[in-house]
C-alpha cells in the first residue's frame, strides 16, 4: 500500500486543529518536527497547490479569531482531507504496531 507523502501528511496535521496561512503551517511543522524538517517554501506551495487540486484542503475567507494577519491566505482541511489523514494515521499506527511486535521499537523512545 502506498503512503501519502510525508509533507502532505504534515500539512494535514498542521491544519487538523484550525485554519492557518502558509507561514503558519511552516511554523507549526517547525515547532513539531524541528526547523530542518520543514519543507522549502517552494515545496510547501507546490504541495498546497496539489492538495487544493485534490480537494484535500481549500482556501477560506473566514478568519480564525486569533488570526495574526488577516490579509494572508488561509487554508482549511476538507472532509476528504481529514479522512485521508485518518487513513494515513491508521496505516502508520499499524506499521508502528508491527515494529513493536518485532521488538524494533523500545517503549519510551520517541
Amino acid at each position: 500500500m502506498a503512503g501519502m507523502t510525508p509533507l502532505t501528511f504534515q500539512i494535514l496535521l498542521a491544519l487538523a486543529d484550525g485554519d492557518r496561512h502558509g507561514y503558519g503551517i511552516i511554523k507549526e511543522i517547525e515547532a513539531r518536527a524541528g526547523t530542518s524538517a520543514a519543507p522549502s517554501t517552494g515545496a510547501l506551495y507546490l504541495a498546497l497547490q496539489r492538495m487544493e487540486a485534490e480537494l484535500l484542503i481549500a482556501e477560506t475567507d473566514e478568519r480564525p479569531p486569533d488570526a495574526d494577519d488577516a490579509r494572508r491566505r488561509y487554508y482549511r482541511i476538507s472532509e476528504s482531507g481529514r479522512a485521508a489523514a485518518r487513513t494515513e494515521s491508521t496505516r502508520l499506527a499499524a506499521l508502528v504496531a508491527t515494529a513493536r511486535d518485532k521488538e524494533l521499537l523500545v517503549e519510551g523512545t520517541p
Binding site: 502506498a2 502558509g22 507561514y23 515545496a43 510547501l44 497547490q49 485534490e54
Partner: protein
C-alpha cells in the same frame, strides 16, 4: 539581494500563480530567511529555497500531473528532477566525507589540471577575447608596409606615405599613427626631475581610436605639426601619482626638457595604449616642410592604423589602398619603387606573434587535464570495486540502475566542481605570478583578468572532466550484475562483479536466482521504504514471479 533572486525565480512561473500567491510566498521566504543566522546557514537556506522554488515553477509550468490519486496518495515515483538532484548531491557529499583521502587526492589532481587550463586560458582570453579599449574596435585596422627586397612583411610606415594614404584612400574614415617605441622624458615637478614614459602620436590618434579624455580634451589633427605641438595628454596614473589628482590640472604647464607644454587632458583610468608603460602622449611635431623631404618617405617608424568608413569592408579598403600604393610607386620611384602596403584587422595584427605559442600551450594543458581525468577515473574505478556491495544493496532496495548511475555521475561532478573551484584559485595565482614578470595580453590594450569568460571556461573544463572521468564508473554500475554482487557481498568479499562463473550462473544458468528490484525511482527516503510497498521478487528462471515475505536473513552493512 537574495530576495530579488527569489523574486526572479518566481517570475519563471505562470502568471496566475504569481498574482495569487507571489507576495504571500515572498513573505514566507522573508520571515524564514530572517531567522537564519550565520553566513553558512543563510547560504544553505537560500540554495534549498532556490531548488524548491525551481521545482515549484517547473511543476506549475508542466502541470501538477497525476502523481497523487484522489486520496492524495502517491501514485508515481514522487520526487521531481530537482529534488532528486539535491538528494544525489547530499548523498555524494556524505560519501566523499566518508573517504577524505580519496576525495582530497582526486580534487588535488583535478585542481592542478584545471588550474593549468585556467592560467593559459586567461592569457588566450586577454589576447583574443577581451574587448579592446576602443569604440567600435572591430572597424579598426592596422596598415603596414611591405618590401620584398628587404623582406619586410608588416613594417612600420614612413610618415609621408601614411599622410598620402590618409588623403587619398576614401575607404578609411581616418588614418593615424604612433611611434611604436615609447620614449623616456625628463619632466620637472616642483623643481625635481621625474622620469615619465611618453608615446609620440599623430594629432588624430585618439579620435581615430574613438576614445575621449576623462578630463579636458585630446589632440586635434593640426597639433601633429611643429609649432602647434606644445600640448600633452597624461594618463590617469600619472595624474594620480605625480599630480596628486589635482582637479585643476587641465591648463597647467608642465616643464620638460626645456619645453613647457600645456596639459590639455587626462585619459580615463586604465587607458594606456599603445604600451603598458605609456604615461603621457605628445604630438609627433613634424615640420610641415618635411613632407616633401626624401627622408620623410624613407624612414619607417610610424605604426599606422585606420578606421574603416561605415560603408566599406576590409577587402574594399585594401583594394583602394593598392591603387594609391601603385600611384606612389610611380610618383616616388627613389623611395617607393618596391614598396607595398597591406591592411589587417587591428586585433589580429596585435596578437599575430602570440597566436601559435598560445595555441600550443593551450593544447598541452588540455592534454594535461585529460591525463588528470584518466588518473581520477582510475581512482574512481578502484573505489567502485570497493563499493560493489553498497551499490547492490541500493539496487535491491528499489533504486533503478539509472538512478544509481546518476548518483555515481553526481559524485564525479561534485569532485569536478570542487576541483574546478580550487583550480580556478590555483590558475589565478599562477597567472598573477606569470603576469607580474611577463607582459601578457595585448600591450597597452588588454590585461589578464578573471572575467566571466575565464570563469565559464573553467566551469566547462570542470564539467566536462566530471563527465569524462565519471562515465566509466557510471557505465559500470549500469552494466554490473546485481545478484552476483549481493551474493559475493554476503560472503564477505568486496570484489565480485569480475568473477565469470558467478556472472554466468546468474545470467542464464541452471538453478540461478535473481533479485529483481522493486519499483524503481523515488527519493532516498522512499527507496528505503520500497520493500514495504513492493517487495523484491525472487524469480526462478522461467518460473512465475512470486513474492517472498522479505529477506531471509538481514543484509548486513553497506
Amino acid at each position: 539581494m537574495t530576495e530579488s533572486l527569489i523574486r526572479l525565480l518566481l517570475r519563471l512561473g505562470p502568471r496566475h500563480f504569481r498574482e495569487r500567491h507571489g507576495e504571500e510566498l515572498l513573505f514566507v521566504y522573508r520571515m524564514r530567511a530572517a531567522k537564519r543566522r550565520g553566513i553558512l546557514r543563510r547560504v544553505a537556506f537560500f540554495v534549498r529555497e532556490a531548488i524548491g522554488l525551481l521545482t515549484l515553477v517547473t511543476r506549475l509550468r508542466v502541470g501538477l500531473g497525476r502523481d497523487r490519486d484522489n486520496n492524495g496518495m502517491n501514485v508515481r515515483g514522487g520526487a521531481t528532477m530537482f529534488e532528486t538532484a539535491a538528494q544525489d548531491l547530499r548523498f555524494a557529499m556524505r560519501t566523499l566525507r566518508r573517504n577524505p583521502g580519496f576525495a582530497l587526492t582526486a580534487v588535488a589532481v583535478l585542481a592542478l589540471g584545471i588550474g593549468a587550463n585556467t592560467a593559459i586560458f586567461s592569457a588566450v582570453n586577454a589576447s583574443f577575447f577581451r574587448p579592446l579599449p576602443f569604440s567600435d574596435a572591430d572597424r579598426l585596422v592596422t596598415l603596414y608596409e611591405t618590401n620584398p627586397e628587404f623582406g619586410w612583411t608588416d613594417a612600420t610606415t614612413a610618415p609621408a606615405n601614411l599622410l598620402d594614404w590618409r588623403e587619398q584612400v576614401a575607404a578609411f574614415s581616418d588614418i593615424s599613427g604612433y611611434a611604436e617605441f615609447p620614449r623616456q622624458i625628463t619632466a620637472m615637478k616642483d623643481g625635481q626631475p621625474i622620469l615619465v614614459t611618453g608615446t609620440s602620436v599623430m594629432g588624430n590618434f585618439f579620435s581615430t581610436l574613438g576614445v575621449r579624455a576623462a578630463m579636458g580634451r585630446t589632440f586635434r589633427f593640426e597639433e601633429t605639426w611643429e609649432g602647434q605641438d606644445n600640448v600633452v595628454v597624461i594618463s590617469h596614473d600619472l595624474w594620480v601619482n605625480h599630480f596628486g589628482s589635482d582637479p585643476e590640472i587641465v591648463g597647467r604647464i608642465m616643464t620638460s626638457e626645456g619645453e613647457s607644454p600645456e596639459i590639455i587632458g587626462v585619459m580615463p583610468e586604465g587607458f594606456r595604449f599603445p604600451s603598458d608603460q605609456t604615461e603621457l602622449w605628445f604630438p609627433a611635431g613634424w615640420a610641415a616642410e618635411d613632407r616633401e623631404a626624401t627622408w620623410f618617405r624613407r624612414a619607417h617608424w610610424i605604426r599606422a592604423f585606420g578606421r574603416l568608413a561605415s560603408d566599406t569592408d576590409l577587402r574594399e579598403a585594401d583594394a583602394e589602398l593598392q591603387v594609391v600604393v601603385v600611384r606612389l610607386q610611380e610618383e616616388y620611384p627613389e623611395t617607393n619603387s618596391v614598396m607595398g602596403a597591406g591592411v589587417a584587422p587591428m586585433r589580429e595584427f596585435l596578437v599575430k606573434d602570440v597566436r601559435t605559442p598560445l595555441m600550443v600551450l593551450l593544447g598541452s594543458v588540455i592534454l594535461l587535464l585529460l591525463l588528470a581525468c584518466t588518473n581520477v577515473a582510475n581512482l574512481m574505478l578502484v573505489r567502485a570495486n570497493d563499493r560493489v556491495r553498497e551499490v547492490a544493496l541500493r539496487h535491491a532496495l528499489g533504486a533503478g540502475r539509472r538512478r544509481v548511475a546518476r548518483q555515481m555521475l553526481t559524485e564525479s561532478l561534485l569532485l569536478a566542481a570542487l576541483g574546478g573551484v580550487v583550480g580556478l584559485g590555483l590558475g589565478w595565482l599562477g597567472v598573477r605570478s606569470i603576469g607580474a614578470s611577463t607582459q601578457m595580453g595585448i600591450d597597452g590594450a588588454t590585461r589578464l583578468a578573471l572575467d566571466h569568460r575565464v570563469v565559464l571556461f573553467t566551469l566547462a573544463a570542470a564539467g566536462l572532466s566530471g563527465v569524462l572521468f565519471g562515465l566509466a564508473p557510471a557505465l559500470r554500475s549500469l552494466a554490473g550484475d546485481i545478484g552476483a554482487s549481493l551474493r559475493e557481498g554476503s560472503r564477505g568479499s568486496s570484489v565480485g562483479t569480475g568473477d565469470p562463473t558467478h556472472r554466468q550462473r546468474s545470467r542464464g544458468g541452471r538453478g540461478g536466482t535473481r533479485v529483481t528490484p522493486g519499483r524503481g525511482g523515488g527519493s532516498d527516503g522512499e527507496d528505503l521504504l520500497a520493500p514495504a510497498r513492493s517487495r523484491p521478487r525472487i524469480r526462478a528462471p522461467g518460473g512465475p514471479r512470486r513474492a517472498v515475505p522479505g529477506p531471509r536473513r538481514p543484509i548486513s552493512g553497506t
